[in-house]
Each structure stands twice: as C-alpha cells, then as structure tokens.
Symmetry: D2
Subunit: 346 residues, 4 copies
C-alpha cells in the first residue's frame, strides 16, 4: 500500500500516518519526493480498513499494491482448474457448451430443446425454473415443477443441468436437481447466497454483475471458494455501458485478463451479452477465439413465443450453425468444443 | 407497443405479427409508412413476453409505449407519499436526515455519534450491523450485537434506526430492532429480500443499484409495494461510470426525474455517491436544491480508524457544518431540514 | 511514479527498471515488500513516455503520483481566477448566467430572447452560429450571418456574446464578433482549435467532453493556458453513461472536485446535461448549491419550433422562474446570481 | 416518427401536435390507445428539427423509426464496399492488417518496424507523425519529418501508409504522403476535418470516439461519404466504461452490428481497445472471429523505450505470433489474413 501525502503536508501529518501504519501491523517506509512525500506500508495484509488511512489529515490518496483476492489467484495456484460434470468439461483445452431455454416453460419445450442442443454438440442443458425478473409482472418461472422437467430432460439426454438459484432458502431444493448451480448477474454480490451455494458442494457458475469490475468478480468467487468448494466457473455476460444497440457490452478482453490472473475457468454468455439473436453466433465464435473455456447460449424451439428473452434466443437451426462456426475456430486453435458430434449431424 | 417491421418485410411477415399481436390479447393497428410498416398493438397489458414479438421474422424492433411500473406511478396515485417515523419525516416539504457510522463498531462509537448527529439536527440514526462487503476478508459487521447497540442509541437519543438487511432469513431479527429497513444497492434486485422486507411492515429504504436504471428502481419498488407496504423510500446513491475521481457518479437529475413520475419520497446518499468526505457537504446541499426528500450521510467520531468507509465519513464538526449549509438551502426554498435545532447549537 | 514489479520478478528485471528510471533523469528508490518489489521514481518530471516503463519485463504496473496538469492547478496558483466580460462575472462569489437559443435562427428570435433573458437577470447571451451536428442532414447554423445577428442583439441589450467555434480556420471570424469563445464538448480534445482559440485572446469557455475525465478536462485547459490566455472557464455538461432517461449524466460532484484542484471558474450546463427542459430548473439550482461559478442555459421563444434542441430549451417564463429559484439558493449561500434585477421584474 | 402523448393529454394538445406534424411536411396518423394517444408521423424525411415536437404541450416522448444515416446504409447499397490500396485489402473475405509504431520516432525505428511487420504478413504500415496528445507536455510527433520517414519506409517495403491527420489545415500535407488518412477517435465528430479528409480523395480510416454510439459513427461516416469519397473504413477501438483493468472496453459486438447495417468495412484496434500488450493477441484473434475486415496493431522494436503508448505495443516476435494466431482463425473461417507469408517465415 502506498500512501500519497498532499503537497505541503506537515511533518506532524506525516508522523501521524507513520504511526497509523504501524498500528495496523505494517512497516512504514517514507520517501521524500521532489513535490510530495509518499509512505510505503509494507506487510502482507490486505485488510480493507487500511483504506481508513485516506481519512488522515494531509493524505491525498491511498494506493493498494496487492490484489485483494487470494484463493482465486493464479499466483497462489498456478495449475488451471478444470470443471467436469459428466460430458461437460470447462478448462484446459476443452470448451464446455451449455445451451437451452431462458425459462423452462413446459416438458415438451424443454425436452425437445435438450435433444436438439445435444445433437448439435452441447454438453450441458440450461433452463430457468426460479427466474429473477426486473418486473414483478413478468413470468417468474415454474419453480420446483421446472426443476422436475429439467431432471426429466437430463434422463432423456444425459446432459447435466445448469439452473439458477436466486435466494439462499432455495439452495437445497435446487441442489437436489441441478448439476451446476448458477448465480445470476443480479446476485453476484448476494454473499449469503454465494456461501450457501458453495456449501451445497456442486459446481457453481458465477455470472459477473453488470456493474462489477473483474476484480469484484474474483472477490465474489472467493466467497464460494472459501466454503471449500473449488469448482467455480466464472462467466462474462456483458456490462452496462452507454451503448444501447446491444443489451449489454460483452467485454471479451475481460476473459483474457481473467485468464492471466486466475486459475478458474471463464465462460461467456453471448445471449445476454448482446441481447439479440442475430449477434450471438459471431460473438460466440469470438469468445472461443479469445480463449473462453465455455459458452452458455439460449435456445428455444420457437423464440417468438418464449415467455422470456425470446429476442436473444437461437432457434435449433441457428444453434447448430453457431456450433459449427465455433467448432471451426476451436479446432483451428487446437481445442475441442462441446461433445464430438456424429458425422451424420454435419 | 409499437412493432417496427424491417424495410422490405413481406405481407406474410406482417400478417404473422398481426396474428401474434391478437393472440396476446391486443388490438393491432397497421400503419404503412413511406419506408417501413409499423404495427401499433393497443391494449393495457404490459406483460413482458410481448417482447418475444422481436423474434418474429421481418421485425426490426419493438418499442414499448407504457411505462412498466404501475403502483409506484404518479399517474396512479397523484398524492405524494410522506414517510414518517417519530421525528423522521421524508416527503412533502420535509427533508429527513439520516446520519451515523457506516458500521456499528462499538457502543461508545455508536452512541456518541447518535448524540452528535441529533444535536446537529439529524432525525434518524444509520449504522450497519450486517455488512455486505465486496471482499470476504473485510469486516462483516457485529450482526445482532450491532442491532442491540443501535437499540441502545435509540433509547439514548430517541432517533429511529435505519439499518441494512442483506438476506431474507435475517429480516425477522433486523425488523425486531430497526425502524426502517434498508435494502442496499447490491440487493436492489434481490427480489425475495424485497418481498420479505415488504412483509415485515416497517418502512423500507431502497437504494438504487449502481447499474440500475431509474425505471428498474421503480420496478424493484413495486416488489415491495405489492406486499401491501406503501412506506417505501427511494435512494439515489450514484451509478458506475467511467469517472474514477469519485467512487460513483451521483445523478441528481434522477431525483428530479423520479419526482415527476412517482409519488414515493426520494432521498440522496452523498457519502457513497461520491466516496470522498471532502465532496459530501456541497453535494448534500445540491441534493436539497434538486428537491431531495432526505439525506443519508456517514458520520464517524474518528474516520481514520473506521472499520469501513472511513474515507467518505464526516467528522462531527463536518456534519454540523454540512447541516448548516443544507439548512440554508432548504429554508431558502421554503422547506425544512431535519429537526429544529436549539439556538445554542448554532 | 511508482513501478510495481510482478510477484517473482528477478533481480535482473529489477535492475533493468532501475536503469531505465535513471535514464529518464529520475532517482530510483527500491522497496522490497513482503510479496512484491516496488520502485519509486523520484523527480519532478511528468513526461508521459515514462509510461513506457510498463513494458519492461517483470513490471506489473506503473502508478503516477503527480497530477499531470500544472498551470491549471490550485497548487501552482492558489488565488481563484475570476473571468469578467462586461456584466458577466464568473468566479469568487459571482455566478455568471449565460442564456439564449441553441442556434441563432433569425434576428427576431435572437433579439427577443436576448431581451427576455436580460430582463430575467442573465449576464451573457449564448447562441450557435456555427453548429457541430451529429447528422450532416441537420441544420448547420447561419454561420457569419448568425454572428451578425448576435452582434445586433448585443447592441440592443449590452449582453456579451458566447458562441461556439468549431474549427481553427473559423477562429478569426468568430473572435471578431464573440466576447467569449466556446469550445464544444465534441472538440474538447481538438488541440489545434484549443490553441487557436487561446491565441485569439478572448476568454474561452471549455466544455467537458462526454467521455472525458475531469483530469483530461484540466489537461485540455492547459493547451489554452499555455498560449498565455488565462481567461478559461470550465464547463460541466454531463457525461455518457448507461442512463437513458437523461441525455447525459450531469456530474455535479465534478464541479466540487474541480474547485478543490483548480483555480479556474467552473460553470454548469443543465440543458445539455439533462436534455429535458423539465429537469433544467432544479438542476440549475443544484448546480448553484454545488458551488458552480456560472450557468449556461438554453432559452427559446417557442421551443417546439426550434431548429435544434427544442426539447431542452426553456421558454421565457420557465427561464424567469429558474432564475428566481437559483437566486434564492445563491443568496442563501451568500453569493450573487447574474445581474441585479429591477424590482418590477419580480 | 411516433409521438407519444402524455396520459390525459387534451384534445387541443393532440390537435396542436397534428398541426405541427403537418407543418413539417409529414402525414399524421392518430391512434387512441387504452391509456395513451400516439401519433404516427409518416414521410421520408429525417430532419432532426422534428425532435422539437417533444416540446409541444402534452407530449411525453418522440420516438424515431427511421435510422438517421442513409448513404452508409446496407439498405441503400447492399453490396459490400471493399477498400484496396496496393497489398492492403479490407472487406469481402480479405482481412487487411495495418501495423507499426504509435509514433514515428526515427528512421531506424520506423523502417525496421516496417520490415518486421511486412515479414509477418502486414499489408499496411501505421505510424503517427501528427500526434493528438491528452497532455500538452507529451511528445507531439515529428510532424512533416515523420511523414517523410514513413514515405521512406514505404519505399523500402512497398507497404502503403496509414497516418493520422488532426486538423483540417494539415490535410494537404498529410495527403501528400499518406495512402490512407486516419481520423482519430478524439476527432470522430470534428466535422470540418471529416469533410476535408473526404475531399482529399484518399481512403479514410475513421475511428469510433470513446463515447460515440455506433449510430453516431455511421453519421460521422456520412460526412465523409457525402464528399463523394466512398472509401471509408470504420474502426472499433473501444469505448469508455467503468472498467479500469483495460484502457477502453473493446466492443466486438459492435462490429457484428455494423456489418448488419452498413456496407463499409469495419476493422478493429486491439491495441488502444485494451491498452495492454498482453491482451492484444487474443483480442486480435477474437476480432477476426467476429468478422472484422481488418486489424490495426501497434508494434515497436523496443516498447519500453517508446515515446508513446509503449505499454500497448507488441514486440516484433509478439506481432509475428499474433499474426499466426489470427491466420489460423481466418483460414478456419474461409478468409485470408494480410499478405501471403513465405513458408520460411513460419
């Protein structure tokens, strides 16, 4: 941590900061620059209350040097984490593909989608049973009935299930059916939920909040990792910016940045990340080229009748074409995408 | 709702949309423009699944006409809601002032702060007992012990207590002590929490999420209002933008915009909104001038030792000066700020 | 400048950085922390090419300590700059008020507006003759004819003229008529224009770009100040954010932040900053409470017929009411707004 | 254009809007909805002054239906524009590769870089001679001397030159040396510069401003296209968002969005778009996968000594590796990247 004093800070103010640094268990090191004095505070603690130094008289700014996350850090664990659930593998050279409807609406809709995405090479099925909706007047999901339908689709296809849990009290019921628990973007900083999901012991897919920095995403992951659950998948799904031609701004550079700092696999959601089905195929391919360890894509048998997010859902044909596009990129880069697809599918 | 067709959309595509509009219980009205055909869908439903129309072949865009919120709307209830709890009044010409430490750290710290802010004219005491923290390694709050300290401070000063609840399971214990339940910015779209807090029956202070639009804030408020609890206070506390010289960008125009659309009182948090104690006094005054119905301000006896957010906390003296500044603005505009302060305090 | 080495940086990498720091004319100071080594580079130069240190092997990050601006800094010139042009005074306790139409459309429109805003207390007249327009198909301004109309309005009312110059070649003609040259938000980083405007010798009103940080605004001001022209007025007019209910997000905290770092006067444009006439009056009042040294407000005799920006223009009556509101706030804070208005106007 | 009336708008207010619509040469069509009245204004004009309708009493909102750009539109010209200059081809299935230093610093630096990037397959040389710099204290470029060095490098390698022009008065001298004129992000809305550059008759590379929407980029392109110059290349180079781990947020979805609306080629700048050399290779590959028609990449013989932007410049080796990576993706997708590279280079 570096404490930058104001120009003209007095000897007394500098001494006071030196004392405060010592009282926090750190070793102060004073450097007198040409215009300003700077105090380096040496030690291995990251406790946030040091930020209080910014309130000392004469202090201009406090600059942290150490990254605030630990367990998620590549410095701490240099081997990449690979998350595996049945046919689904995310990490290393494997790109896991999660596909399915935004919401589970019916058995027919869900099972037919599961079959179609499996045939195209997906390795997991997504589908929302508990839906967090911006408006209380929107469809809120089929709840446990939805989970049962997902379980049925799994039986039919062998695809593991990825589904969202939106509140701590629902973790037991969701974990009973789901293979991977999804924490949605709105809940990235719902810390009790992160912990409950972590303790459930199943892999957790953690989506980045639309206003969260990449560092905050890693700190949210630490809440889960600290429960002893190391199967955490990070997901870039776009941030809120001034751009209105897309629903969010999908930041693929964040995927690369994360890979250089964390051992956790990072997947990409081009459906929410763009909000328009017409943009999904090429952004999925771009995500693969950027090194994503997986994709999560919304697919619906008939998007124009979907109870949620139809405008960003692919049809079966569009999903199949997207998989072909992504597979070409993955193979060119020496990686494998989703499941091997029987030749007849091509 | 207006459905804009693509240039060159076929008769068949137009007819398909007309049918879909009818099947949603709406009355279609086709307008052939010079370059494009537009279909107005008439009816009073706001159901979100209409957005699925965007997936119909040939559709370029779907534009909603009706605001998605209802109960919070000034069109539905033209009289302003005034929230009153003991000395605290927010709304009409009264500006409620909530002040206190970011976190409850000790009895001495909390009670002394309560006394100081009361003396300066505050009408409610804030203090965090359950703290949602970005990092799992930061101080997480004293939990129920913190609530007990707050209750003690209330006994000493008569100030009602505003404190945050961060997960549905905690609502009963928090509601047992608190006078106003605070929903923090991270939890603005934690819908189960909104509902639980609403059912607790006490006034709810709802903070805007850093990536939430003003419309999404109103929709979140509807989750609470729909529990039958009408004592909802909205709070502008800054949004995430590219600006890094302030912690968030405090959008006072949103206060004015909200006042023109909702009957709910709107308060402002200049402490989180700026993240620097040096910016708080004038932004508090600006909030009053913009018409805010209240202020929520962080105050700490010795900010440089605070366990959280010291850099944005005012000292007692700074808070008193801020109140004087704001009072001048309020009175000039024919409004009253906080409690009447005995002459000897000036 | 602080150079943070990567964890595990080698002795050789550290030595290389030390050498590079010396070769830039700075004094290196190595600090071995618990986890990382940090090298402070001491000296008074701010040259940007030091940033190249970030490319040295083993370097994680380079953190600047000194602010990059100089002449605009309060540290260099602690007395506030006050800009005066006839009745217009911005700075100290005087709030200058610039009002008028977005575009000069006709003599009648401009002169009548000049009279109306003067009667309400404005101290300068704004009006665009050279208009930078997002679309080439929009009205581009009356050019020199517009300037002549402005000069006429000045003759009639005595109000000095503020008008925009959009390209270096136009500076001579604009400076021939204008009293204050306006650099629009799109041109904040049009450096040749900044210099030309500076050399013209008249006061320059510099608007913040919608994606510019406050620090970049100060650096842009330095381009003007370095021509020897010290009459620079900064203008906050909103930044681009995800908020779409306002045209831009007006950041009043930036006004306060600037006042704590620069001696230049800072004014606010609530018309562009919000984009809706209904939001202008209270945001103007909030700007005054935040300490703004001036306001620039769009006024039009009949906004619904304006050739540009009608939606954010006030009518004469709305402007008069806005001035009354702002005057109350200004007087409560011991400051004066615009010109003294004869009693009969109230 | 759709005019949405406020709830409760009077008959008189509606009639007034109808008249105003007619007076603008449009045909009004009134639709009485359940809650609101909406007036469609039919006609083919896009004149912006229609926005003034928003100022009519009783109007809630005006929604444009037609895109404001014309000549750049795919609807107007369905064949893709391909820009060719010597070996450089951008568009169709060809990916043009522009590489070179941020600034021209010396003959040795520029010529050696030109040779290296050519050997790796680049088809054009970039290099700044006139540099727009945030700070007046930063290196401002070698100006015409820099242009001469670029011309020399072209002679040596046959690579066409791409270089920035920052003010209209410089267009003649820059056009005398350059093969492609670059308009930088800061100048995207410097309309006189766009026009001058357009009239120079050489291809123009137009970078998106960091706060500009994709639609505004197209409108800026129209300023150039309207000079009769149809060789315009659009460039996505990142927008300003809250993300601070990258210099800008590179929005690859914008590339896809643009391709669906304009016939102009779209290239990507991963150097400025990320601001870190470590992120450039994979983001270049991702851009290719997203369908970019070209790349512009900063390369420097020794980035840690660069006079500008060293932190985002690739070394020769890194550029060669990046080209190999991108070539794999391009070939997998049936496209060709840069120049064919002699087998010995691999």
């Amino acid at each position: 941590m570096i404490v930058v004093m104001q120009r003209g800070a007095t000897e007394r103010e500098i001494n006071y900061v030196v004392e405060r640094v010592q009282s926090l268990g750190l070793r102060p090191h004073v450097i007198h620059g040409t215009e300003r004095t700077v105090i380096a505070a040496i030690g291995d603690k990251r406790d946030e209350h040091r930020a209080s130094l910014e309130s000392c008289p004469g202090v201009a700014e406090v600059i942290p040097i150490l990254a605030p996350y630990k367990v998620a850090s590549l410095e701490v664990k240099p081997e990449r984490t690979v998350v595996r659930v049945g046919p689904f593998i995310a990490g290393n050279l494997h790109i896991g593909v999660i596909a399915g409807p935004c919401s589970v609406e019916s058995e027919e809709q869900t099972v037919s989608t599961a079959r179609a995405v499996k045939a195209a090479g997906a390795t997991a099925l997504r589908g929302g049973a508990f839906k967090p909706r911006t408006s209380p007047y929107s469809f809120q999901g089929l709840k446990e009935d939805g989970l049962k339908i997902l379980a049925l689709a799994r039986e039919e296809t062998g695809l593991p299930i990825v589904t969202e849990v939106i509140t701590p009290a629902d973790v037991p019921v969701v974990a009973q059916y789901a293979d991977i628990l999804q924490i949605g973007a709105r809940n990235m900083q719902n810390y009790r939920l992160l912990e409950e999901a972590g303790y459930a012991g199943k892999p957790v897919l953690l989506k980045r909040g639309p206003a969260a920095t990449a560092e905050e995403l890693l700190l949210a992951a630490e809440y889960i990792l600290n429960t002893g659950n190391h199967n955490v998948i990070l997901c870039e799904r776009g941030i809120r910016t001034f751009e209105s031609h897309t629903r969010y701004t999908l930041s693929l550079a964040t995927v690369v940045w994360l890979h250089q700092r964390t051992h956790l696999p990072v997947i990409v959601d081009p459906s929410h990340g763009t909000g328009h089905s017409a943009l999904v195929p090429q952004m999925a391919a771009a995500a693969v080229a950027a090194g994503a360890d997986g994709l999560i894509i919304e697919v619906h048998p008939r998007p124009e009748t979907a109870l949620s997010d139809g405008f960003q859902s692919l049809t079966f044909e569009q999903f199949e074409a997207t998989m072909e596009l992504c597979r070409k990129v993955a193979e060119a880069l020496g990686r494998s995408l989703g499941a091997a697809v029987p030749a007849t599918c091509h």
